[in-house]
């Protein structure tokens, strides 16, 4: 590919920008960190433009990059401060991000937070990114069958954790999940 990497990258960026921003914001509490992770994700994509698959798979590929970038990101690290000044300003003013993360102290939220990173990511890809089995498999680079098995286990563990969480003082809310 890539007779015109610039045109192709703009195309990919325009389609994937919002889903990737959303993906990162849902997993990264600090908006400045999120801006940096989004920047790093697309910087990586630009450097590896020839490896990006065509069509909607580009988005799944980018989720994978974003996931690894998040895992390696240190809180407070601002490698792309210069590139993200405008984005950070927008995020700081965003009403959607003004409130504390939902469910922070709900039973459901805490049970979810108590899952292993892998389980949480798997359930998030389905619930938040609305990916189907095939898409999760592509994103994580595993087989569909492995996705099914892991999802099943993750759901079971989640149900158990949710139940076991029981109470948590001040804030445990008897939520209807």
């Amino acid at each position: 590919m890539g007779s015109d990497p610039h045109g192709r990258f703009v195309d990919i960026y325009e389609r994937a920008y919002r889903p990737i921003l959303g993906y990162v914001l849902r997993r990264c509490e600090d908006p400045d960190d999120a801006a940096d992770v989004v920047a790093e994700t697309f910087v990586t994509a630009w450097r590896r433009i020839d490896e990006i698959p065509p069509g909607d798979e580009a988005r799944l590929w980018l989720y994978g990059v974003a996931r690894r970038t998040l895992a390696n990101h240190r809180r407070g690290e601002r490698r792309h401060q210069r590139r993200t000044a405008a984005l950070r300003e927008q995020l700081a003013a965003s009403p959607a991000l003004a409130a504390p993360p939902p469910g922070e102290y709900t039973q459901l939220g805490r049970a979810f937070a108590g899952l292993s990173d892998d389980d949480r990511e798997l359930l998030s890809l389905v619930a938040w990114e609305q990916l189907d089995t095939e898409q999760v498999a592509r994103t994580l680079g595993i087989t569909r069958n492995a996705v099914r098995v892991r999802l099943h286990r993750a759901r079971r563990r989640f149900a158990r954790t949710l139940a076991a969480t029981g109470i948590d003082l001040p804030l445990m809310e008897r939520t209807a999940p």
């Binding site: 959303g22 405008a86 990173d117 109470i167 008897r174 209807a176």
Partner: protein
């Protein structure tokens, strides 16, 4: 509430947000900046290092384990569990919540200060209304948490589902009338329910014990504080003075809530939660006492007198109400303390919900501590692994 609601922002919300537009200033500046460099430069960048000992900081994205503190649960070979009865307060003059807490602070027991494992044994329970909304069932769970002190040693959870059954005699009668089901299947839409997950299947029968090997960031951790895992060394350095402890907890809460923790009510709740977390950690009696003193400064806490906790043990109860953000009602939060030892016995949260026949019932979620302390014993691991 379901998992989708836990997402802080949905892609659709971003559609109305300037930050979410690929054509917006932020996105454009970023794109231009990236493309000002030649493409494909330098091949695959290596994943950046993340080695150093930043165990809990590194979990920023995965603020996991919140549950853990409170999630210690266990083995309960015991029979029926009495209902929590926070309303059966003793008559006569009651000490104020503040007096109870300060008394607990002065009573906190000295416990052995070392051992191979920090072991916590808890029982938790959760009420749910039946799928036909005819009666209440209570599920119970147990957990032993064995956190290894020695670097590199394996830590474990041993969990067990203890089964589900109708809560009161009235519930049992309604359950019989419904054909004494031993399995309850819940619908996708959980608007009318509490205490269960969408599409969940709840079974009456208990299950065998399951051992969970704690991995990853749990290695070298002695629990959680302000919802981040905390290492043994950090635990040892938790300040014991009341003022210093408060400052320390607030600082941890702030570090955790970066970006959205300015709501004073949220911060107060978070501070209370952290004090409760402190009780579950292997800290000195002085630290525990300070945590009680901090709790004693909260004005909305009231004394509920002597009560029986969900495991039938008598203690001094303190409580307060919180708003239920999902439904319009309130939750009554009750904390029961053993005045003799100054140790927390249980916490519960009770709310009311209407059944199909118009009856209004109380549903409770609770967590009760059976045992906590250092031990040189070894966990007796069941065959089944998670």
């Amino acid at each position: 509430m379901n998992l989708t609601d836990l997402a802080r922002v949905h892609d659709d919300d971003l559609g109305d947000d300037p930050a979410g537009q690929a054509s917006g200033a932020g996105a454009r500046t970023l794109l231009t900046s990236i493309m000002s460099e030649p493409p494909g430069q330098g091949g695959r960048p290596r994943a950046r290092r993340l080695r150093g000992p930043v165990p809990w900081l590194a979990s920023a994205a995965g603020l996991a384990a919140a549950a853990t503190l409170v999630v210690t649960v266990v083995v309960a070979p015991d029979g029926p569990v009495p209902n929590p009865s926070p309303t059966t307060a003793s008559p006569g003059i009651q000490p104020s919540a503040r007096q109870v807490l300060l008394a607990a602070a002065s009573a906190v027991m000295k416990v052995p200060t070392s051992g191979a494992y920090w072991r916590t044994t808890t029982i938790s329970g959760m009420d749910a209304i039946s799928p036909d909304r005819g009666y209440v069932i209570r599920r119970r769970f147990s957990r032993e948490e064995w956190l290894a002190r020695r670097p590199g040693a394996q830590s474990w959870w041993i969990s067990q589902y203890l089964g589900a059954k109708p809560l009161t005699d009235e519930d049992e009668a309604a359950w019989r009338k419904a054909g004494s089901p031993t399995e309850w299947r819940y619908p996708l839409d959980m608007t009318e329910y509490v205490g269960v997950n969408s599409s969940e299947v709840v079974r009456a029968a208990a299950e065998e014990k399951v051992a969970t090997r704690l991995r990853g960031k749990w290695k070298g951790s002695g629990g959680t504080l302000a919802k981040e895992r905390i290492t043994w060394d950090e635990i040892r350095r938790i300040p014991s003075g009341e003022r210093e402890l408060r400052a320390y907890l607030e600082q941890r809460i702030t570090a955790h809530a970066k970006g959205g923790g300015n709501d004073p009510e949220w911060r107060e709740s978070a501070l209370q939660g952290s004090c409760m977390e402190v009780f579950s950690l292997p800290v000195s009696p002085a630290v525990r006492a300070s945590a009680y003193r901090i709790l004693a400064t909260f004005p909305k806490m009231t004394s509920l007198g002597k009560v029986k906790d969900p495991l039938g043990r008598t203690g001094e109860a303190l409580g307060y109400q919180t708003r239920d953000s999902i439904r319009a009602g309130t939750n009554q939060i009750v904390m029961v303390i053993d005045p003799e030892t100054g140790m927390p016995l249980s916490q519960s949260s009770t709310s009311t919900i209407g059944l199909a026949d118009g009856r209004t019932v109380e549903v409770t979620g609770f967590w009760a501590l059976r045992r906590m302390g250092w031990t040189d014993e070894k966990p007796s691991l069941p065959a089944k692994r998670d």
